[in-house]
Assembly symmetry: D2
Homo-oligomer: 369 residues x 4
């Protein structure tokens, strides 16, 4: 197998001319698309419709070019979009392809596995069912990607459902209980439970600890490769596992690192070294080109403090904490990579160390000396 990673700029969630052009001129075979992960223009919160808009645009484009129906496309390809391109960040989407190919060379190649859980209702969010179905989906995606060891998994992106006030009220009216009646907070529950699910699926978190009671409570439990987003445009957890496998060839590789706090450069630079980049404070333009995709999770530290000094992100009624932290950590990573088309997502509950987060990087090896 051979994985392709194609990153396109997104002028507008309705403008997918980047992928359309690549399909037209043969750079991308639409039948090989297995997942799309991207950053859109919205606020990344409940009322962010740019995620659904881009999903609709891509579904129609892929449908048109493959002969599938838009619904069939959506059932096959996870569209995982996170809203919010604060500060220097650039809206973009990264198309993952998988095609049959002769294996070349002895080293492991970039491997991608995809799966979907059953649909969730508001009352499932943040609960054991979401944890367990996510754990099972992760293992299934690993298997489908022929990734044999959990150490070879370097990034698990999940997109789960968000629900509006109307959905929550309907659930309560059916006699269900919901983890919270605040739509934004319910997104946090969903991210948290899904992250515990990933950790459970990969053995990072013991099964007996990956329980509903730990959700948004025991922040000592976390996955170092889980990146979870939520949005009103999906109803199940869509799971994309990315790692390395002997069954896959090609020139791409992936690595990841935890971030202990929002300023933790010590996580990023050593990872760059291990991938063959120079010691420079910022990648030179030539080096920067080797970066094919970068994924970052981050959050405003719950202690209210970073390196001993207070921050104000959790007290702000005008700008959501996620908009603050994405802009800040996104800029830091962009300043190192010299690249602003990064997937930077807030709400890192149980995703990387508490108060920090994680970074995962897909790069071309051939550029390395």
């Amino acid at each position: 197998m051979l994985a392709g990673v194609h990153r396109f700029s997104l002028p507008d969630p309705g403008n997918v001319s980047g992928l359309a052009g690549a399909i037209k001129d043969g750079r991308v075979d639409p039948n090989t698309i297995v997942a799309v992960i991207g950053k859109t223009h919205g606020n990344g919160l409940v009322n962010d419709y740019t995620r659904g808009y881009l999903a609709q645009s891509l579904a129609f484009l892929i449908a048109e070019t493959t002969g599938l129906s838009p619904d069939a496309v959506r059932q096959r390809v996870p569209f995982i979009f996170s809203g919010g391109v604060e500060g220097v960040l650039c809206p973009h989407y990264t198309v993952f392809t998988a095609s049959r190919s002769e294996k070349t060379g002895p080293s492991k190649g970039l491997a991608v596995g995809v799966t979907f859980t059953p649909d969730f209702e508001p009352e499932d969010i943040g609960r054991q069912r979401q944890i367990d179905l996510t754990a099972a989906a992760v293992r299934q995606a690993m298997a489908s990607a022929k990734i044999s060891a959990v150490e070879d998994v370097h990034f698990v992106q999940v997109k789960g459902p968000a629900f509006t006030q109307t959905d929550i009220v309907a659930s309560l009216a059916r006699g269900e209980t919901v983890a919270t009646d605040n739509p934004g907070k319910l997104m946090a529950y969903g991210r948290a439970a899904s992250a515990l699910g990933v950790g459970k699926g990969l053995g990072e978190i013991p099964a007996e600890k990956a329980v509903a009671d730990a959700v948004l409570r025991d922040f000592n439990l976390f996955s170092n490769v889980a990146s979870i987003s939520a949005g009103v445009e999906v109803r199940c957890n869509e799971v994309v596992v990315i790692g390395l496998s002997q069954a896959w060839g090609g020139d791409l590789t992936i690595s990841h690192a935890p971030m202990a706090d929002a300023l933790d450069l010590s996580a990023v630079h050593p990872m760059l070294r291990s991938l063959g980049f120079s010691e420079a404070h910022q990648l030179a333009a030539g080096e920067s080109e080797r970066v094919k995709a970068c994924f970052v999770k981050c959050e405003a530290s719950r202690s209210g403090v970073i390196r001993g000094r207070p921050h104000t992100m959790l007290n702000d009624g005008d700008m959501d904490q996620q908009r603050h932290i994405r802009g800040a950590v996104g800029a830091i990573v962009a300043s190192i990579l010299g690249d602003t088309a990064l997937f930077v997502s807030g709400g890192a509950e149980h995703q990387g160390p508490d108060g920090g987060g994680l970074v995962s990087l897909i790069v071309e090896q051939s550029g390395a000396v």
Copy 2:
């Protein structure tokens, strides 16, 4: 003369217990305070009242401890506050003191000069009168600080007036013309004209080019040391010139660097080297302690592009562009210094290279090896 630089955390604009404690225990003599520069909790735009609140709090504290009236304090001490602590930034204020002292050692010491222009009306903003009075004020502050060469000026902080819609309408009703009837845009005119004034005063911009017609038009004209803020709490331009002078002693020094764009680390690291810091990506905790104050100006590039990729800051109707760029550039500088109590201010019109900005750093020399 001897300059002191005292940085205090600001839990709330009404809580100046940091300085109060320092006065009480003798660390700061309130009679020696010559200026206060700080970052407050607000949005940094027209309706940011946290700047005025902190100014009022400090005026009452200093009045109480010096026996002056609050009004007399305000006429003597510029209180220059910029709102907006997006992302990792920490609200704080830095108190500058100047006291008579035996000169120790042969090297130039940190020097501070302060002056005020006459008051401005809405119709003066962005116009020649603001340019020229600022230029004169800068020269006067330099002289009062005994800074003999413009090369020794490393930072000029100006706080000028902002006007509300009510003020603008009153001005128009008096038959005046105003550069714009948009209060937020008028702040930009004021920053721009004041920056041209600083550049004119220091000879960075030829006098014949520092004209009203160039305001917000000819962005090739800029000062590399000007940092301008505007707020509804002042009516004149308050000017603080900071540099090096043989007439001043002490262990503090200052340097500055332009930033070519929002990701321009190449400006910051060499400056750190020149100040005796190590080559590390991030200052170690021990090194970080040498930093006494850091001032950053930055702005969202008007081209809509950073390093060839689009940004969305200038299209955003929910979050002002200044909130975006302060959070981004503030985080980048914080990640290098390992310190989040930075003065980071947006709206860098004619302040540093277009699309970039500038950074200025006051450090203790004794820590250097």
Copy 3:
């Protein structure tokens, strides 16, 4: 001819199940759809993508049910959406249909005419070309709707283009001048020029006064029936003229009234009386059902004052003035009609009296006693 007015709730810009159901069960023949006007969830400013999202959703639905291509649908049917459902307002869209029908009764019926101008570039916005092409389009739409007198025109909805920073920079790079380099402000120029165009087309504004120099300057010039929105999802001015005509039958009628300021109930209640409603402060549920659609334009008074008291809308850096005024005036009209699915749009430059706006109402006559 017979006009139909069908209002549907919009749970999400990707969810057009309301119209889909009406098509499925025969209440709406998709081939008769001539225009759709609606309120979407976004901020109504430059970066509001909910308008484009709904347009895409409807284009695909109508394409699917008519056999036309989505592009052909968009060239035929204006989709005019305004973002922003602040306060009590409800997202919805109103589908206008026109079908051949025996004329019943002697009275004039509700008539709808639609046309499109050629495409505009950023440099056209706020300029004479936009004024004149809009005026011509209004007359053409009137003619196509067989509305014989300008007094019979009660509402002209225009949707014109908005441009992002990238578009503006591209225009400048081609050597063009643009009315302003601020994307949000350029939307205002476009609304203003289009409103002058409507006024010129209907003779409300003398042709010699409907000139580019008057745009955003001479607010004594205005149309009492023009409602203009702008959005990044269109490139031309889409024009929908609604009025009364002997050539049309049916039970629907329309009226309009100017609003002198944001609190001007004196405009609304007499119009309701003239349409046969009771004197009540609020329409009773039974009366409320006669309301088929309501369109409101409003704006924050530029004087900074309403009824002698200051407002803060124009100084606010956190919430755009349009979000303020839509929420306020929308609530006032909703409290009278007992209905929150109103089209309320801010940015009323030259649309109704300065500082006020206008309201237009389509009602069923048969309910009247």
Copy 4:
């Protein structure tokens, strides 16, 4: 006793020239000031510092003119400010005075009673201690105002503490539990518990039901006269009870009405009739002058629906629900009174019917025919 009600415009939270002028020319004796209630420019949420700013401004003014220290003023006079003047609303503050005076006439006069609870910690908020201390404070304020029957109480304004993330973390570090670790949500707990306390104190809610378990749960329990705000600038509950009493004279009276939902005009108009106003949709300018102060509490209905149609206030990540609802309900009441200097406060948990709120009005009787 004689109560005075003096309303002043607030150009800026640092500008209390309105009251200063009234003191100077003898209209207000600063020694008689018993409470100040006002609307300030901020967002009304955790990081709204305009409330504290105005409190500081007034404390210094009153101190200066009475010879008291600012701290002594604050211990005597509750400063109860609510941030947020969305839409048409006008920033202002209303000064209540009480002076000894011959009782004139047989009717009950406007009576004002003031008291303070002990200080609260984060762990007290939303808990029984806050309920019970508030209930006791209300009874004490009633007694001090010589209001003999609970039916004569028409408005109880409480200002309680809000806590930042830093405060909450400190409380948790002391081993306490806090109702929620979200600072904004903790404000809601505080308002809710205080409202139950008012209801308990006045007998509107049976003592056995006014328990911590009912806080933010049993919304059938509410007070029809309680209006609660929270802010970081206070640490106790400041309680102002306003009603009618035989012990007080003067020409002012007060009434109140519940609002069943955000559009409930049926509450307001009958109250106006009972106070002697005409049947008009909007008070005429002459009638409007009789209004001395108006207080409104309101909230976004938790069902997500108003009059059968969805609203979006609870899904919005850009604008807080309180900003939405204050702007909407404030505009409705302003359109009836023809007056925009209204105290309109969001967060009406247990204050008026669920999903609605309440309105209270102080008027001059002499104007009535």
